[in-house]
Each structure stands twice: as structure tokens, then as C-alpha cells.
């Protein structure tokens, strides 16, 4: 055997397990691919197709008759544009409020070195996710309703009259509160990961160079957690604008965001084609946020490597 053939034989022997490993990787991904194709790719594809069919009340099936009429209708009616604006504003406000509430908690969790205490804090955060959203929202109603705990307290201390109440839900505020509650764990977990990834010696370096604890936070820790702040906010934005149950229950259908409009078109008017159109627009908005989220995330991890 010549040297070259020997080398080739060795190369083949080395390449063989690598090839089968690649094949194995593919096999492992297959269940998810099948599931996603059947229950996500095909439905979303049908949604797109439906949105391009002419509006026919009661018609569910997709036809080959294609038109942009539904989109023209959406963009020519001010109430749909307003609803889009309302959804975006809602997403932005929820992201901002969630960030302000989540950051201190995430900071504490990330800086808690004691493993037991750390786990306890994380369980506290995750406990909120253990209950179904509907049940959690009914819980919030007990607190925020006209006869709820908050209003009773305000009456009790005489801040408002015995007959009056402060409107805390069935309005924009209620939806924001519900969504913040829903989004907090996602934001906290994102931030904990990023803050924990900041090398503690950076803060120590800042301290010994003369920065107080507060100054070190604002000059080092906070700017270094910006990738987490951005990605967490975009994630919460995407979750918020696509939520239906929270605006439905906490807004009582009075806060007309896009998911509410979709529901009304489909469930109340049987206008599947126009409902699909709004759904596509909402999908693109939220996909846009996720796309930015992924790019920011990639840049953040690329910058660190």
C-alpha cells in the first residue's frame, strides 16, 4: 500500500463516524420538523393563502382565486391602522414596564451566589408560570375589579368615596398589568442569563479604579447588560402584541388590539379571509421583533467571543 492510499484509508476511517454523526443529528431533529410542519408551517401557509382569497362570509376552504383586496381594505380603514398602532404601543409599554420591574429582581438572582437561595428565587419567578394564564387572570380580576381588593382598600382609607371606584381593568391599564404579569418570567430569565455572564472582575476593576458601587453599576454592569435588555424587551414585545387572552379578559374586549379584531372577524362575523389578513399582519409584526431579537442576540454573543 502506498503512502497516499494509506492516508486516504485513514481519512476515510476518520470521516466515517463524522458522517454518521451528522446523519444522527438529522434523525434527532425529525420529530420536531414533522410536528412543526404539520401544526405550524402548513397552518400558517394556509393562513397566508386564505388572506389572499376574496372575502366570502362563511367560506373556510382555500381557493385559487387570488386578490389583495383584504390588505387594501385593512390599510384603508383607520380603525385597523389604529388597532395596529394600539398593539405596537401596548407591546412597547409592556416591554418597558416589565423591564423596570424585572431588572432589579434579575440582578439580585444573578448576584446571589448561594446555590440554595438562588434556586429559591428562581422557583419564585417560575412559580408564576406554573398556572394557566386564564386562572392567573381571574386571580388578578379579584384584585383589580371595581369591587376588588385595591378599590376596597382605597375606599377604606378614604382616598375615594364609598360609592365610587377606580377603573383598574377593562381598559388599557388592565391589559398592561395582565401582560406585565405574564411577561415577567421571560424578561427575568433573559436578564439573569446576561447579567450572570458579566465577568465579576469587571465590576471589581471599576471599584478599585475609584467607582462607587452605584457608579460601577451605571458605567459597567448596566451597559454590559444592554444585549439582554434589548433581547428581553423584543421577546416581551412579540409575546404582548400576539396575546389574545389577556386583552380579552383584562380588557373586556374594550381594548381593540389586533388579536381582538381577528377574533371578532372570525368568531363573530365568520369572515375568515379578512381575519386571516389581520393575523398575517400581526404575524409579520411579531416575526419582525423576533428577527431583531435574534440578530441582537447573535451580535451580543459574537461580541463576547
Amino acid at each position: 500500500m502506498t503512502e497516499a492510499t494509506a492516508a486516504r484509508a485513514t481519512g476515510a476511517r476518520l470521516a466515517a463516524p463524522a458522517l454518521s454523526r451528522a446523519r444522527l443529528t438529522w434523525l434527532l431533529v425529525v420529530p420536531l420538523l414533522v410536528f412543526l410542519t404539520v401544526f405550524f408551517v402548513i397552518p400558517v401557509g394556509l393562513l397566508f393563502a386564505t388572506s389572499l382569497n376574496p372575502q366570502t362570509i362563511g367560506q373556510v376552504t382555500v381557493t385559487s382565486d387570488l386578490t389583495l383586496d383584504n390588505y387594501l381594505r385593512f390599510f384603508s380603514r383607520s380603525n385597523y391602522l389604529l388597532a395596529t398602532g394600539r398593539s405596537v404601543a401596548l407591546g412597547a409599554i409592556v416591554a418597558a414596564v416589565t423591564l423596570v420591574v424585572a431588572y432589579p429582581m434579575a440582578f439580585v438572582i444573578a448576584k446571589t451566589a448561594h446555590p440554595g437561595r438562588n434556586t429559591a428565587l428562581l422557583i419564585l419567578v417560575l412559580a408564576a408560570m406554573q398556572l394557566d394564564m386564564v386562572i392567573r387572570l381571574y386571580g388578578m380580576m379579584v384584585i383589580l375589579g371595581d369591587e376588588g381588593l385595591v378599590n376596597q382598600m382605597l375606599r377604606g382609607i378614604g382616598l375615594i368615596g364609598a360609592e365610587s371606584s377606580v377603573q383598574l381593568m377593562y381598559n388599557f391599564l388592565g391589559v398592561v398589568l395582565g401582560l406585565v404579569q405574564f411577561a415577567l418570567p421571560f424578561m427575568i430569565l433573559t436578564l439573569v442569563g446576561v447579567i450572570r455572564g458579566i465577568d465579576p472582575s469587571l465590576e471589581e476593576a471599576a471599584r478599585s479604579l475609584g467607582a462607587s458601587r452605584r457608579r460601577a453599576f451605571f458605567r459597567v454592569t448596566l451597559p454590559m447588560s444592554l444585549p439582554g435588555i434589548l433581547s428581553g424587551s423584543l421577546l416581551v414585545f412579540a409575546l404582548s402584541i400576539s396575546s389574545y387572552i389577556v386583552p380579552a379578559l383584562m380588557g373586556g374586549f374594550r381594548v381593540g388590539v389586533l388579536p381582538i379584531h381577528i377574533f371578532q372577524q372570525v368568531a363573530e362575523g365568520a369572515r375568515f379571509q379578512f381575519g386571516a389578513t389581520i393575523a398575517v399582519i400581526l404575524f409579520l409584526l411579531s416575526a419582525g421583533a423576533v428577527a431583531i431579537y435574534l440578530r441582537v442576540g447573535a451580535r451580543a454573543s459574537g461580541g463576547r467571543a
Binding site: 465577568d199 476593576a205 471599576a206 478599585s208 462607587s212 459597567v220 461580541g303
Partner: protein
Amino acid sequence: MSFVEFRGVTKTFGRAPAVEQLDVGIAQGEFFSLLGPSGCGKSTTLRMLAGFIAPSTGSIHVQGRDITHLPPEKRDIGIVFQNYAIFPHMNVFDNIAFGLVERGEDAATIRRKVGAALEQVGLSGYDERFERELSGGQKQRVALARVLVIEPHILLLDEPLSALDKKMREEMKFWIKSIQHSIGITTIYVTHDQSEALTMSDRIAVMDRGRVLQIGSPVEIYEQPRSRFIAEFIGESNLLPGRLARADGTTGAVEVAGAQVPARLAQPGLSTGAEVAFLIRPEQIRLEPWSADEAPMLTGKVADETYQGALRRYRIDAAGQHLTVEVPNRPELAQLPPGADVQLYWRPESGLALA
């Protein structure tokens, strides 16, 4: 009074003591090394001085002032970390300017001082670079410039060379030492590398399991180690089991490998008949006599030989004991094949008896 003083400092994490009853004084302008294996308490000691952790008991003084409870930003102590801790979101200029900004210096002063610092560390023109665009050695220069620009009282170096490759390490060793010498700043250097400590330090404190075992100049630490641990940790050593045959004051003789050899006594209290370890460094042993009337200390056989370029390392079997001998690689010195009979020579004062 020393410039820096640890008085009875103990630090306990949970139940385990990391540093126990530390009493160390460091003189102004001194290059002082804390040397020991990982987990010996050297980094804890440094971090207590920097103010990142508080001692459990005891106090730390700088220029006579108790700084035990002073926060790090009020201590005026600069520290260079093992990983350099360059702020990745700032360029080199802003990194070096960090401490000056905290001190409220005006923009013109900051520009001038940062420029001078960059020049001092040989990185002029690197202002705009970010951490990810710097090599290991350059990061270290930036870390040092960032500290020196605020003109601290004390410079702390936490294993600053361990992340560099061997060639770079040698270069930086002399560079750091020369900068330290030219500024005259009191420097405390933490390392687990005995050769770094030996070449750079004025004095070394050897630590193990939270305690300081010996403090002395590099020569003292190497030539008069106080314990077997130090003898083994610093440099190469042959430690042979023996029995003290004679002891008078600071010298005596040890029975080792079937012979009686002269030895200095590491501890004054050693008495005749005591079990000791006999220390002889590999480079102290010769395989040829200097003069015709020089009597060999031990005799044995060559077990094997390793070629190391600048020297040849022999493993010698002497009455069941193994010794390592390092011989300079020179043509006039005999090369011995395995199995050859050899005689081992050294100066009487080279041997040391350790309790």
C-alpha cells in the same frame, strides 16, 4: 512600621478557613510575592487588601491607617487581574481614562495622562481599539496602564502572566519588573509559579493551606527552605530520607543512602538521631570531582538519562534512593550511559537537613 501590614488576619468561607492568622508586613517600594499552590489563600489575601472581601478577624493597615473597612474605591490600590478585566464595551482610551473620569479630571488632563500612559506601556496609537482586537500581551499592557494612570499607592498583580504563552511570559516578566522599578511602586504579586516569584521579587511569602510558611528573599527561600513543602514547591529538589548523625549548632551530618554526608540544619533545634529529609538540589550535584583529592558524597548507578538541550538530566540510583542530577550540556563533561557507575560530588554547604 511597614507600609502595608496584615495583623492577625483570618478569612473563613463557611467553615473552611481560607487564610489563617496572617501577619505580614510589606515595605514601601517593595516587590512582594505571595507564592503557593491554588487554594493556598494567596488570592484571598490579595482580595482582602483590594477591599473586595472583608477579613473575618484581624485588620489591614496601609501607612499606619486601618483600611479594613474601607470600600475598594477609597483605597487607592490598583489591581491587574488574571484575565485583565478590560471593559469590553469601551475602547482602550476609555478603559485607561476610567479612573481619571471617576476622579473628576477635566478632558484635557485625561487626554494628556492617557496619552502618557499609553506611551509608557508602548501602545501609542491603540486608543480606538477594543478588547477583542488586542492580543494577550496588549491586554495586559492596557490593564497595567489603566491602573498606573491613577498613580495608586499600591499595585496588586493577580497571576498576571498565567494567561500568556511562554515566550510572552518571559518578556512581560522583565517588563513588569522594570516598570515597577522605575516608578518605585509598592507591588504585591500573586503567583503559583515559583520561577516568576524567584526572578521578580524582593521578598516572597510562601503560602500553603491559608498559612504563611516562610517569608524571605528569593535566595533565602531557595537555599534555606524551612520545610519539605517549601523545598519541593520551589525549584527541583532531591529529598532523601535520612537520620541526623551529628548536630552542632547550624551544621551537622546526615546518614543518607548508606553514607554520611555533611549538611546545614534548617532548624536549630534538631538533635542527633532525628529523622530528617536531606535536600540536595539537582544542579548542585556534579558527576566529576573538581580536584583529585575531592571525595565523593555518594556513589550509585545511572538509571536513565534525558536530553534537555541546555542540560542532561540523569536519574541516579544510590543504595535504593533515586536522585536527579542536572549536568550542563558541555562537551568536556562526560556522558554516561545507563548502568554506568557514578560518583556524586557537591559542596558540603549545598546539603540541607529538614525536620
